[in-house]
Every structure is written in C-alpha cells, then in structure tokens.
Amino acid sequence: MWAYILRRLAYNVPVYLSILLLVMLALRVRDPVFGRLPKNATTADIAQKRVELGIDRPFHQQFGSQLKQVATATFDEISWDYPGQTVGEVMSRCIGPSLSITLPSLVLTTLFSITVALISAWFRGRALDKGLVFVAVLGMSVSFLVYIIFGQYYGAYKLNEWLGYDVFAIYYNPEVSNAGWGEFFTSVWPRYYLLPVLISVVVAMGYDTRFYRAVMVEESARDYIVTATAKGASQSRIMFIHMLKNAMIPIITRVVITIPFLITGSFLLESYFGIPGMGNQLIVAVESGDFPIVQSFTAVFAAVYIASNLLTDVLYALVDPRVRLS
C-alpha cells in the first residue's frame, strides 16, 4: 500500500505544480498595480509600486519564491492588504473559525442525511418516502442565501425577541475571538456558531439525502438483501448492518471529497454572521487582488484536495475487500 501511496504522490507532483503555475498566471492576467496606487499617481509611482509588490521580477523568479514557500510550508510572504502580517498569520487566524462551522456541519449533515436516506429507501415508493423526497427537493430548490437571510432573521433576531433572551447571536462578537478552549465550547460555539451550522446542515441535507437515498435504493434491490430478508433478519439489522456497510464506498467518496472544502469555509455564512473565516478572507483577497493570500490559499487547498483523493482510495481498500491498492 505504501508503494501505491508514494507512486500516487509522485504522479501528483506535476499536477500540483501545474495548479500553482496556472493560479499565478491567471492572477497576472490583470495588472494589480492600478488598484493600489496612491492618489495622483505618476508613472514613477506605478513603477515603484511594481517593485514594492515584487511583480517587476521575471515570472520564473516569482514562481520560484512561491514554490519555496510551499515546499517549506513557511508562508512568510507579507500580505498586500494587511501590512506587517504574513500570509501564514492570516491563514492561521482564519482556519479555526471556518472549521468551527464546516466540520460540525459535515458530521451532522452526513449523519442526518444517511439516516433519512435509509428510512426513505426502506419505505421506497410509499407516502413516507415520497414526503421525504418532496421535502428534500424543496430544500434543494431554495437558494442558500434565502436560508441565511431568513435563518438570521427568524433564528436569531425574532427568536431572541420572542423568548426575551439571546439564544443565538445575530452577529459575531469580535471580543470572543480571545476566548479559551473551555469558554469556546461551552458558550462561544453554541451562541455564535451553532445557528450557521444548523443553516448549513439544512441546506446540505436536501442534496445529500437525495444522493444517499439513490445509493440505498440501489443497494436495497441486491440479492443479499433478499437473502437476509428470507433468513428472517430484522429490518434494522438489514438497514444498518448489511445495507449501510455495502453502501459505504459512495458515502466515503462523497464525504472525503468534501474535506478540502472544510478549510475554504463559506463566504456567505461567514459574511452574514461575521465569522472571521477563510471563505470571507479568500473572497476579500480575490476582490482586492492580494496575490500572496490567493496564491498560498490555493496552494494549501490544492494540497489538501490531492491528499483527500488519495485518502479516498486508501479508505476504499479498507472498507471493501474487493479493492486492492497496487
């Protein structure tokens, strides 16, 4: 297996380098200097700004610098938007808040979706199944933004008004960023993160339930299910032991492929709830053309994405004896 992993990693080196190269080239299609000039700029100011940003150097040198940062995982280039702060500092302060939303969302969404999908698949074609599918499709048809706007209005503002005390915060309080771990889990997370997590779960459940139901329906028609039923296995045993185990490959694929997106966070959720995460930071950097941030974020994301793909293959072998890594 290790040989397989090493070989796959080697195959991915050119892919990874190409990603870094393409991102750097794509960013340079537009000249970032003009958005960063002082008022009444002169042509000398333009030239000086180019030097200051380091984009006067030949492209291969810029690419080399970026490669060095990635290879050494230092990310010590100074952000163009945040003078005095390295890209590493910016990333490290944003990753935690993003994971505080995306990780619980992934876990909860997966658990709920699989459970609902199993129920739906078991009662395939009956009223319960049709009702669940209808709700799932309805959920998928509504924009993410609508969930956020209504979720914030009713879930935080109106709920707090009705109850007379604050259950969920409407918006993040910057001061809680300094909270310790204990305080974070007992009071900060439930108050500031839980509502965005719930919104995220509701949004994702429609999609995931539909997908998992299709997987389960396919599995429920297999011969081994008929055999198990004929042998008198209970419904719950068939569903949660036999069927679920055999449906693990598509489930793992879907879950693991989501892992890279955990670090990118959600721009919309983060900006509406004031969560200081990666999604928001990345969008701001893209809009303002903060090359160091965008390049390093995408380098990390691409690395995690490649690692996730590899992890998927390894997990296949672990859950399905028919899969051999060679």
Partner: protein
C-alpha cells in the same frame, strides 16, 4: 511654477454608474446610504484653518424638524455658558465607574471589513481614517458642531500664525503625552515636542521605508521638502534627521514651516489624519507592525489583542489624554438635540468604544433594532422602515422609541467623465463639444436618483458639492447643459452633424461591476438611446477601471470624487491640466485660462473674490463639458436614545471622544 496640485480628493472611484441628469437640479437632501457607491478609497478628515464662511449649507443634519429645515441663514452660531469640568471631577467619575464595573461602552457599526493598516502614512480609506483618528492626532481638527466646517487647534496651543501666508509659526499645546507603551523608557509615554511633528511629516516622504501612500498630499508644499525626498530616496538610508529648509524647530514647543508659495489648503491638510503625529520610538521599535498598533496622543488607546482584523476593534480611554472639552460653540439647531448641554465637559466621555465591522447590511440593521448598537447608518433597503420617503423624517414608530434621525450630506461629486483626448467625444472642436453637451442634456440624473437611491441624493450643477462655496444657488446654474432636455439634446447633436445620432460611432462606456452597476448602465444606455446615441457598456473590476482611465483609454466613464476637505478648490483641481492621468484629472482636460485661474485661487484666502473665480472656472467646465453630472450622496443615521452628544458627520472622524451614553 506651480506644479500639479493635485486633487487631494478622496477619491473613491466609483463605480457607481449613475446615468442621467435631472431636469431640475433640485437640492434634495436625501437619505440613503451609499450602498451603491462601490469602492471608497477615501479618507477625509480635514478642515480649513481659516474660517470657512458663508454660503455653505449646513451639512450635518439634525433629527427634528427644526434641524431638518435649518439653513445657515436661520441657524446661527451660538455659544453656551459653560463651566469647565475639573480634572478631579473628571477622574473621580471615571474611577467610580471603574470600581462599580459599569464602564461606558459605546457600540458602533462600520460597514466594511475595517481598516487594513492604521499607520497614518499608509491610510487611504475612510475606515482607516476613522480608526486611526482615535489613536493619533493632527495639529488641527474640525470644530465638532460648527457648520460650515471650520478648524481649531488640537495639538496646538493656538491657530498657526502667518503674516505672508508663506511662513507659519506653530506653538504646541502643553501637557500632551504619547500613549504609555513599551517603546518608551519605563513604558511611560513622553511629552510631545516639535521634532515629533517633523519626524511624522518626513515619514510621508518616505515612500519606500515607511511605505507612504500619501506623498501627493504634501508634495510641492513645503520649501525644500521635495528636494529632501529626492535626496533621501537616492541615498542608501533614509535619514530622518537630515534638515529640510522649510521645517525649522524653534524650541521643544515651537516651530516654523515655510511654504513654497501661499496655499490656502495647507491648514486644511493639517486636519487630515495622514499628517497625524506619531511617536518615533514606536515606529522604530515596531517597524512593519506599527500600523497594527500605532502610538500617538489620541483620546483612546488600542490594547494588545483588541483589534480583530476583519471583525472589529475596541478602543479604550486614554487616561492621560490632554485637556480637551466638549465645545461651547454650536449651531442654534443643535439645541433641539441637547448638544449644547454638554459644553465644558472633559472628553473622552465614554470609556470604551467597540467598533464592529459588517460586510453585509442585514445583520447590522437587525443588531441595531435588537438594541446591540447605539446607532446605525440606514441601509437603502431599510430606508422606508426608518424614514418617510416623502418628508425624509424619522417614522413615528422610531420617534416613539426615542430615536433620532440625522441626514448627513456628503461632499460628493459623482459624475460621468469624458476622455478629452478621445477623437470622437474629446477635444475642443465645436463639433465634439456639441456631442458632449448633447450627452449632458440627455442624461437624467433625477431618474437615476429615484430609481436607485429612493430619491434621497442631491442632484446638482457643477463640480462643487452642496455645502461648499461655489455651489450654485438651489444647485442650479443657467450655464449648465444638464438635462433631461431631450429636445435640446437632439438639437445639439444635429448641430454637431449627427442628426438623431446618425453617423456617430457607438460610445464605449466604462463603469464598475459592483453593486447595481449593470442596472445603472442600462438606464444610461436607455437615456442616450432617446437621442440616437448608442452606448457599449463595459463593466470592469475596480482596478481595471482605474487602469483604463489612467491609461487614457476609457472614452466615457463613471467615477466619483469625495472631497478631502471642504473647499471647492479640491474639486476644481480635478480639471487642472498638469494633473492629467494617471493624476486626478481623469478627463485630461486642458485649458490654459482655467489652469491660470486655478493657480491663482490656490494661493487666495477665502473671500467673495475667490468664490467669483470658482464660478468663472465652473462656467468654463459647463461650456467645455469634460464631465456630465452631478450627484452627491446623503446618508441617514438613526441614533438610539442611549447615545447622546452625537452629531453625525461624514466629513471628519475625530468625534468618538465627544459622544456619551446615558444609563
């Protein structure tokens, strides 16, 4: 002789694509927020050293009907008879709050992701201005309640004096100390001295080491300063101790500054946060990170960890703040808001100010309604929830809750610009001038204002925004070609040789992609189509738009300018020939007579003669039409009854120290 005097304007580009010109250039004092103006790069916090007089209309608005109808003619300046709060009273009250744990914490919103750096010489946005102004201070500041705007000493003992307008004598105020910080021996902030002023200004010239972005502000201003910059930049190391001919230290508390030539705007610049005084020790100790925690003499200090970038920032009272009081001088209309009752109180009044950054409006508005914020700028989509669209007054429900509403006019010049070097619509031939005049006459700014801004902005003639000298009466000038006057537009176009637009090539229009840029561009296209002019709209990112204009390749474009200081000269500089792109003369307008007059007014003190020249210069612009416009935004504030002593303004940012909270 006179080198490009740039437009110091807070130039925020705009982006908004407003189209159209209104048929009646009414002076509406609108409400609304500026949601549509996309990118502000502005930071304005300046004022005038000499008295700004006259004809300016009141810009900061009141909440009550008296306030809303007030004008300079009926809103005289008055003085309260106040007793100065003693140092002992001031400190005792604070100690009591500290002991009881009931500190006054003001919570205020900022509709952006906040400042990026608070180093004054790197500042460019209003957000950087607002935050930095609490920590570092300038020699002069705006009078808090006085309208039209006027300057007063802040770090000075008295207003600077000059007999010839060239050599200015300054005297620093006693008892001004820098914030306590580890950069000082024993961690105790030392007293401010003359050398600090020159050190801070020399940082403006250091575009490499200090990464100054504001050299344009002081360029061609102080004798020998440009030469100093050239020498230091050529040298291996920037020597802050090297002398500048026009900067002379007389003593620790006194110094003189000699200008290149008399310049009315010099004192205004001393109110701009970019010229704020910082501690050399802190700059040398913190280097690149100085912008994260600047050390100055401001009314508030920034504690370690109290700036969560992109989220918020908390300022804490500077217990060593120099003696400074709530002003006695106020406008008569301020009495409706009890602003006169605080006269004589020591400032800062509040103990902490927490600023929360919002990237979207909904959470800010909900938090305001939930009582978590002490005031809010009213977002466009919530305008009707708070104000009557017709009367622009606060709704009854809000009034019942004790809220106060304040319309605040902004010093805006929102326009469409023509590239005067373009072969079709640029140039000074009769034919091309007529085409520009026809476009001006066809655009309907009022329609734009109604459709996208609830009709709350001010549509006006000329380049000088409402509230400043040179602004035409009622915002209208009979020399202007602003429409909508379709018949006149058609005639002008026909006279140019393009009857019903026939033969006129499609015009390329460049505007920002943000907000509803596309929708506004559609309206502009529709308006010009009425006279047969076809427009090809190009929606661009901000940096692309600037690039296009700076490279003189945008034929027709949407931009805006927010004044750096309340003097029409700042806006007239936008058409000064030597400021051509990539300078602030984005139009590349060149008119020798205009330039001559501009150079003349720069040196003139405020006077009726100066205003007459403003009008003469604007008349040239009306005729040549290098722009089509104009519009200025108005922002509407709603303030909770808990927050007192607050007179919202968009022109300066030193007001945190004056606000107070009731129990």
């Amino acid at each position: 002789m006179m080198s490009p005097r740039l437009s110091y304007g807070l130039f925020f580009l705009l982006i908004v694509s407003f189209a159209g010109c209104g048929d009646d250039a009414g002076t509406q004092t609108g409400d609304s927020n500026t949601a549509t103006v996309a990118t502000e790069t502005a930071g304005n916090a300046e004022s005038t050293g000499t008295v700004s007089d006259s004809s300016a209309a009141e810009a900061g608005g009141p909440s009550t009907s008296e306030r809303e109808t007030a004008s300079p003619d009926v809103d005289p300046v008055v003085f309260s008879k106040s007793t100065k709060e003693t140092d002992a009273e001031f400190r005792d009250a604070y100690k009591k709050r500290l002991a009881s744990g009931k500190l006054k914490l003001a919570k205020i919103p900022m509709r952006s992701d906040g400042p990026k750096s608070m180093d004054p010489v790197r500042g460019s946005t209003v957000y950087e201005n607002q935050c930095a102004s609490q920590l570092v201070e300038t020699l002069l500041q705006y009078k808090y309640l006085k309208r039209p705007f006027e300057a007063e000493p802040l770090l000075l003992a008295e207003m600077p004096k000059s007999e010839d307008g060239i050599t200015w004598h300054f005297k620093l105020k006693d008892g001004v100390f820098f914030h306590d910080d580890a950069c000082f021996p024993g961690g105790k902030g030392r007293q401010l001295k003359s050398e600090d002023v020159f050190y801070s200004w020399k940082r403006i010239a250091d575009t490499k080491g200090a990464n100054s972005k504001v050299w344009w502000l002081i360029k061609d201003t102080i004798k020998g300063f440009d030469e100093f910059k050239a020498t230091q930049e050529a040298a291996e190391k920037f020597d802050y101790d090297a002398p500048v001919e026009g900067m002379q230290v007389v003593s620790d508390k006194e110094f003189t500054v000699t200008l290149v030539a008399p310049m009315q705007s010099f004192l205004w610049k001393l109110c701009m946060f970019q010229t704020a005084i910082v501690a050399r020790e802190a700059v040398e100790m913190y280097g690149e990170r100085f912008g994260l925690r600047p050390i100055g003499t401001g009314p508030f200090v920034l504690k370690e960890g109290d700036w969560q970038q992109g989220q918020g920032i908390k300022f804490t009272r500077n217990v060593n703040y120099h003696e400074c009081y709530f002003p006695d001088e106020h406008m008569k209309s301020d009495e409706a808001d009890d602003l006169h009752t605080a006269a004589g109180k020591r400032v800062p009044q509040v103990d902490e100010v927490q600023v929360i950054f919002y990237k979207t409006d909904q959470p800010m508005w909900l938090q305001f309604k939930a009582g978590d914020l002490h005031y809010a700028q009213v977002p466009a989509e919530n305008f009707k929830e708070a104000f009557s669209k017709r009367t622009k007054k606060l709704n009854r429900d809000m009034q019942k809750e004790g809220m106060k509403g304040f319309p605040v006019d902004m010093l805006d010049f929102i326009f469409r610009g023509f590239n005067m070097e373009d072969s079709v619509i640029g140039g000074y031939t009769e034919k091309n001038r007529l085409v520009r005049q026809a476009i001006c006459a066809a655009l309907d700014w009022d329609e734009q204002n109604e459709a996208f801004y609830n009709g709350i902005n001010t549509v006006y003639d000329g380049v000088i925004p409402p509230g400043l000298e040179g602004y035409p009466a009622q915002g209208k000038s009979d020399k202007s070609y602003r429409g909508p006057d379709i018949e006149r537009a058609r005639q002008l176009l026909a006279k140019a040789g393009y009857p019903n637009g026939e033969g006129l090539p499609t015009i390329d229009y460049y505007t920002g992609r943000q907000q509803n840029g596309q929708e506004q561009s559609e309206m502009l296209s529709k308006q010009l189509k009425r006279i047969g002019i076809n427009v090809q709209v190009h929606l661009l990112d901000f940096s692309q738009l600037i690039q296009k204009v700076d490279e003189k390749s945008a034929q027709f474009f949407s931009f805006a300018w927010s004044s750096d200081y309340p003097d029409g000269e700042n806006n007239l500089a936008l058409f000064y020939g030597p400021n051509e792109a990539p300078g602030a003369n984005h139009f590349n307008y060149k008119n020798a007579e205009y330039d001559r007059l501009y150079e003349k007014v720069v040196a003139m003190p405020q006077s009726p003669e100066r205003v007459a020249i403003y009008e003469q210069m604007q008349a040239m612009l009306f005729e040549d039409c290098p722009y089509a416009g104009s519009m200025a935004r108005t922002r509407f504030y709603v303030v909770t009854p808990r927050m007192t002593n607050f007179k919202p303004t968009e022109t300066f940012e030193t007001w945190y120290k004056y606000i107070d909270l009731t129990d």
